[in-house]
């Protein structure tokens, strides 16, 4: 029984990691930015949902999508104003990296000023309600999170594989110059990518925070987990992010149940280092592919 319980807990956490990592891997693969402020979009997403619920009195599910849209817009504006301008050919590859690093601190401080340091509760109708199936105990929020995460992963894959926009995004990811010569509006594609990436971070926040508490510092964990998954799955690889997320969730669950809780976070990073040593292209990436 413990085995099945551990597997289900691992999958639940893994699916949240997938959502976190998809946004991060997308902005890297297409936007060419390792977004160190990703965790802050996750945190701001949860605060946006909190405001929508507490002040507009709208239901949780509406707040979830509202947060995705609000943060997506903030993401696009941030990208346009601060990241794209430093991504010119002649500027250093470090410039966008440093900008997102600065944004991480700035967003955190702004949230601290706006919301204060005390923890908030993000109410959800599913949070902390048990759901039992065949002796396995999960919360309804867990189930809802898995469902939403599957939904967004599926939609993203459909978008990338089945639409012209997706084709353009993949073209930009493969070769920006060639895509530009084909008449693709690179800036517009990057903006769409940023909206998707940050919006998904916000969704992850709104899904995960109801089982914890919300304060301006919650983004740190989200960034670290997201980065670990992205490296496991291969930078810019969407399927890799899905597999990597599930792998990390399961590894943490099994490690902390059968080895020791004290190593829970270490297990993820150990996996990351092993992958970097032996398969730097990610667990399912091909050797020839250039990040």
């Amino acid at each position: 029984m413990l085995l099945f319980q551990t597997i289900s807990s691992g999958i639940v956490n893994g699916m949240i990691y997938v959502l976190l990592a998809l946004g991060l891997t997308l902005t890297f693969g297409i936007g060419r930015v390792i977004n160190f402020a990703h965790g802050e979009f996750y945190m701001l997403g949860a605060f946006a949902a909190y405001l929508v619920i507490a002040h507009l009195h709208l239901p949780y599910i509406v707040a979830l999508f509202a947060a995705a849209v609000i943060i997506g817009i903030i993401g696009v504006v941030t990208n346009r104003l601060l990241i794209l301008p430093v991504q010119r050919k002649e500027s250093s590859i470090w410039a966008p990296f440093l900008v997102t690093l600065a944004l991480m601190t700035i967003f955190q401080s702004l949230a601290l000023v706006a919301f204060g340091p005390d923890p908030y509760l993000l109410p959800s109708p599913f949070a902390n309600k048990p759901f039992n199936i065949g002796g396995i105990n999960l919360s309804q929020q867990d189930l809802f999170a898995v469902f939403i995460s599957l939904f967004f992963s599926g939609m993203l894959i459909l978008l990338l594989k089945r639409t012209n926009l997706g084709l353009a995004m993949r073209a930009v990811a493969r070769d920006t110059d060639a895509a530009c010569l084909m008449g693709i509006n690179i800036q517009a594609i990057k903006s769409v990518t940023f909206a998707l990436g940050t919006g998904m971070a916000a969704v992850a926040g709104v899904l995960l925070i109801p089982q914890a508490v919300l304060d301006p510092y919650v983004g740190r964990m989200a960034l670290l987990k997201g980065l670990a998954v992205v490296i496991l799955g291969g930078l810019g690889d969407v399927y890799g992010a899905i597999l990597g997320g599930l792998l990390l969730g399961l590894a943490e669950a099994f490690g902390s149940v059968y080895i020791s809780v004290a190593y829970k976070d270490a297990i993820g990073y150990l996996l990351m280092i092993i992958v970097l040593l032996f398969r730097p292209q990610g667990i399912i990436g091909q050797k020839t592919r250039q990040g």
Binding site: M1, L2, T6, N128, N137, Q211, A253
Partner: protein, 381 residues
């Protein structure tokens, strides 16, 4: 954009100037007739509710003392700094107080790790350090002649708590889920030691989680598979609230007991009823009606128009009084050595009982067991 920035800049300048001048003028004048007391406590971060409670209690006491003429004609001036429950912030606050404000006494901090960090400094600089809350036993075992604590140590607390767990709860097995910090480890070590000696209840699981953890499903799944009679949650209010909610979801049937840090209104607010029935050791509760407790409650309600939200307010109140009584007894100019000698002679009756310190600076204190019932902690006895 530009005009907003320049306006902000000017506003900043004006504020800096205003505070700067007030600071200088006030400081210069006051120097002669105030006694500066440094206070370090977390006013933000995950222990903020305890920090605020303690500081509120101190300020209430200082107000009464100052209102009745101060200490030998001098007013008490509390200089309160926030350490966010981070040891490095606590150290920089202590440096500011010792070299900047030239205090001879610091009251603080809350988190044991922060207090331990401050102590490294106060011990060297011979500054009296009085912690209102920190329970880490190590603090009073450093041969620091200038250290006092206005709370029981973790092992002493565990002594009475363990009797309750084995006799009243009749527990045969116990699991520990504790924060991987100094106090978490010390508490579990003390409790495990006691239970192993008595053989009842038997410790079956010990898990130390990361102080920033928010998901405890792996730990709780493991605990559920062992189905212990009692689950001991050694955690601050925020993490304890997340743990009890996840315990509910997993439908873990063990009796919940918690460490003293969770005896706060914040825990009740964040746990949303999931902590109902949990036992937590405390040394004071709002329901106490002895004269000293009544005096405290009256003063506190007058100042803040509400009942204290945590029992930690009384710890701040008592700390302030004990220190004030010691300062009152000091003859001539106040020095750390004279203050330390007078602290050793403490003999004062507070809400939590008679106060006196042993050679290590530890008091003797009675522990009560409280139980979470609705929106309150009720003394279970």
């Amino acid at each position: 954009m530009r005009s907003m920035f320049s306006r902000l800049f000017i506003l900043g300048l004006v504020l800096a100037f205003a505070f700067g001048t007030v600071g200088c003028g006030g400081g210069g004048e006051k120097k002669a007739d105030t006694i500066k007391i440094g206070v370090i406590a977390p006013l933000s971060g995950n222990q903020a509710s305890i920090g605020k409670g303690v500081v509120d209690g101190m300020q209430s006491a200082a107000k009464i003392i100052n209102g009745s003429g101060g200490l030998g004609g001098k007013q008490i001036e509390l200089i309160v700094l926030d350490d966010r429950n981070l040891p490095d912030e606590a150290v920089s606050a202590a440096k500011k107080l010792i070299s900047g404000e030239k205090v001879s006494i610091i009251l603080g901090s809350i988190g044991s790790s922060s207090t331990a960090a401050i102590q490294q400094l106060t011990m060297k600089q011979k500054v009296v350090l009085v912690t209102p809350v920190s329970m880490l036993p190590k603090l009073s075992q450093n041969n620091d002649q200038y250290f006092f604590r206005v709370t029981a140590t973790a092992p002493i607390r565990e002594q009475s708590f363990s009797e309750f767990v084995s006799k009243k709860l009749n527990a045969k097995t116990i699991a520990f889920l504790a924060s991987n910090e100094d106090l978490g480890r010390a508490t579990v070590a003390a409790a495990t030691n006691l239970y192993e000696k008595s053989g009842n209840p038997k410790p079956v699981y010990t898990g130390f989680y990361d102080p920033g953890a928010t998901d405890f499903s792996a730990e709780l799944n493991r605990i559920k598979s062992l189905s212990p009679d009692v689950l001991y949650i050694v955690a601050n209010s925020v993490q304890a609230s997340m743990i009890v909610k996840q315990v509910k979801v997993l439908q873990l049937k063990s009796v919940l007991i918690g460490s003293g840090e969770a005896a706060t209104q914040e825990f009740l607010r964040l746990s949303q009823g999931a902590g109902e029935g949990m036992y937590i050791p405390v040394d004071w509760a709002v329901s106490f009606d002895d004269p000293a407790s009544k005096k405290f409650l009256e003063a506190f309600q007058k100042d803040y128009n509400k009942l204290p939200e945590t029992k930690f307010a009384v710890q701040g109140w008592e700390t302030m009084w004990i220190v004030a009584e010691a300062i009152k007894r000091v003859e001539g100019p106040l020095t750390s050595d004279k203050l330390r000698d007078q602290m050793r002679k403490t003999d004062w009756l507070g809400p939590r009982g008679k106060w006196a310190f042993d050679a290590n600076g530890d008091p003797v204190l009675k522990t009560y067991i409280s139980q979470v019932k609705g929106n309150d902690f009720i003394i279970a006895k």
